[in-house]
């Protein structure tokens, strides 16, 4: 049978990113903005539903990081069911951690190999026909094969801990509904090569080496592109260690001074504000202590390696020391170093998964703990793209009466705008038209943060990007879309 290419009429509900750049009469950039076009309040989807449904309902926010939403909501409901000082049982906590680090592993692997590596390998001026994952396969086949298997490994970890690939029900208020069987454990520890954790760790270590090698040859691009000072926010473990699942809130400024530390996230509203700007559907979070103008911050891999004091696994710690030495211990404010930080986190996730698999607590039988019920709960996790806030209030019928979610992409709203502005002023400035190379650079700046427009707009789907150039009178000069 003859084959034909069919593109239409496949559709998804679309989130949509748009960049607008305004020029003066001399074509100098006067203003640039990154807009999220579609916004629908997901919170109302949860309102009126029993609180124990929230961890499953919120998985529908995002097909890429449903586990992060699942766990943030579960942590909030832990508080509602009255989990006390003693916290989750060791089995429940470690199962959730395994799920979460499996999620981090698959997401980070996907981002690096699918998004970052084409840009790095082929450069911003490369033909878009090869500057994609297929191009990576054609030129670096091993990288691409590994990408698929690394992601698949992380997803199998999620399946074993959440119970399902999609709409997992692993985490429930106060605990978890299954432990890890010895057979499941051994499939990850002793699976036939390459599908075992030791091979996965080795591959991630090699990915870090790959990046460092590339960086050595391309310092101008990696260090200078969209670099700007900012505050950085994340959870860290009480002792300052990198921790994706639980901890206290910490923020540092561009010079490393702690502007927030040892903050219990149940009090996040005392410290984080959300500014509404008339031109954007997405809010702009800020640190109240520093105010709306100066209090904006970055979240995600770059921020986490700026806020934490150390990484509690040996291979990742060694790489962290090299990474920190590059900026002489000071915070790293270079947007494209996010890729380096992400790979160190990928390596760390592999090491944590291995350590957890070796822990007999995963075969324990105490799955759930509860206490005196409360009417309000807040859950935070470090999702792959950054800090994720879930906040719920419930009424006397156990139904959710208020929900507030601050997703990673919303936290990174201002930084993404700053990154786009950097490109506008350094690449688009003085021009009256948008070239393919310019569009590529706008993409590279935004991709470093890998915005989940689905999460941020609360829709699921493809995310086309438009760049529009306006003259001083507000007339459209040029438009390019991808």
């Amino acid at each position: 049978m003859a084959r034909k290419i069919t593109i239409e009429p496949i559709t998804r509900v679309e989130g949509h990113g748009k960049v607008t750049v305004h020029l003066d009469d001399a074509h100098k950039v006067t203003q640039s903005r990154f807009h999220i076009v579609e916004f629908r309040g997901f919170e109302r989807f949860v309102q009126g539903r029993p609180y124990w449904e929230a961890p499953v309902l919120v998985e529908r926010l995002c097909g890429i990081c449903p586990v992060s939403h699942h766990l943030a909501a579960a942590k909030a409901t832990d508080v509602i069911v009255g989990l006390g000082e003693e916290g989750l049982s060791p089995t429940a906590e470690k199962m959730r951690r395994l799920m979460h680090y499996g999620q981090m592993f698959q997401s980070h692997a996907l981002h690096f190999f699918h998004l970052a590596s084409p840009d790095l390998l082929f450069g911003a001026d490369a033909d878009p026909a090869i500057r994609n994952v297929i191009g990576v396969i054609l030129h670096h086949r091993d990288l691409a094969v590994r990408a698929v298997l690394l992601r698949k490994f992380g997803q199998e970890v999620i399946l074993a801990t959440a119970g399902k690939k999609i709409h997992g029900t692993g985490a429930i208020p106060g605990g978890i509904n299954k432990n890890l069987s010895p057979e499941e454990r051994d499939s990850f520890l002793k699976g036939p090569a390459p599908f075992n954790i030791e091979t996965m760790i080795q591959w991630t270590a090699e990915a870090v080496e790959f990046f460092k090698g590339f960086h050595k040859k391309n310092k101008g691009l990696i260090d200078g592109f969209a670099a700007f000072p900012s505050n950085h926010l994340s959870l860290v473990r009480k002792d300052g260690a990198l921790d994706f699942y639980h901890g206290i809130l910490r923020a540092v400024d561009a010079k490393g001074k702690k502007v927030l530390d040892d903050v219990d996230y149940q009090a996040y509203l005392d410290h984080i504000g959300e500014e509404v700007r008339p031109w954007s559907y997405m809010k702009f979070p800020y640190l109240r202590r520093l105010g709306k103008v100066d209090g904006w911050y970055r979240v995600g891999p770059l921020a986490r390696l700026n806020t934490c004091d150390f990484i509690p696994t040996p291979l990742a710690q060694k790489e962290f020391e090299i990474y920190k030495a590059y900026t002489k211990g000071r915070p790293n404010n270079m947007s494209l170093h996010t890729h380096w930080a992400r790979l160190i986190e990928l390596l760390h996730s592999g090491e944590v998964i291995r350590d957890l698999l070796l822990d007999p607590d995963l075969q324990g039988s105490e799955l759930v703990r509860k206490g005196k019920k409360r009417r309000e709960g807040i859950g935070l996790v470090e999702a792959p793209r950054g800090t994720l806030f879930h906040h719920y209030q419930v009424d006397e019928n156990d139904q959710v009466s208020m929900a507030n979610l601050i997703v990673s992409t919303t936290n990174n709203n201002e930084p993404m705008n700053r990154a786009v502005d950097w490109v506008a002023r350094n690449v688009l400035d003085g021009k009256a038209e948008i070239t393919e190379g310019m569009l590529n650079r706008v993409e590279i700046a935004i991709r470093a943060y890998d915005p989940c427009l689905s999460c941020a707009t609360h829709a699921v789907g493809q995310m086309p990007l438009e760049v529009e150039l306006y003259d001083a009178a507000g007339a459209l000069l040029d438009r390019r879309a991808r």
Binding site: P9, F45, I64, A129, N132, V148, Q155, G461, Q462
Partner: protein, 164 residues
């Protein structure tokens, strides 16, 4: 013959869940068939699709690992909701095609086929079953028109697989 049906979409966005709904129906039908076969009865035909069991998957969106999932298939059907196009549903053959992607959040069926071809040396024959939807707002359940289109899509798929 190994046939894979991937239902794509988000059931939390009304008609965007058409792909899932189709796979749910296949799953229910196969479960009933299996039960009836165990009892020695006749397999019900209302949801019986194809002579062979189908490998089914529920997907929010496609991604790189789906190339691995389909690499050994003889036939793949991507079932998805369509915001435009003919109602109730259309079935069209796909060819592998590389694409530029702005985000990690989704791949097109054609890109998944291209990945399979490049990574594993072959892309299975593949079709897109596009089922027309109308309401993509937050909420659960299909609109009445979409539910009717689902029935028609199931019949279309059954006829197609029977003749394949």
């Amino acid at each position: 013959m190994k046939t894979v049906v991937l239902g794509i979409g988000n059931p939390g966005r009304r008609d965007d869940g058409l792909g899932w709904a189709l796979v749910n129906e296949i799953n229910r039908g196969q479960a009933r068939n299996s039960l009836d076969n165990k009892k020695g009865g006749q397999a019900p035909i209302s949801r019986e699709i194809g002579a062979c069991p189908l490998f089914i998957e529920w997907k929010y969106q496609l991604n790189i690992e789906d190339a691995h999932a389909i690499k050994d298939a003889d036939l793949v059907v991507f079932a998805d909701a369509a915001r435009e196009g003919e109602a109730p549903a259309t079935l069209a053959e796909l060819a592998p095609a590389a694409e530029i992607s702005f985000s990690t959040h989704a791949l097109s069926p054609a890109a998944v086929l291209a990945l399979a071809e490049e990574l594993y040396g072959r892309a299975p024959q593949a079709f897109l079953l596009a089922i027309r939807g109308y309401d993509f707002d937050l909420g659960e359940g299909l609109s009445p028109q979409a539910a009717a289109n689902l029935e028609a899509a199931l019949a279309l798929l059954a006829d197609f697989l029977a003749s394949f």
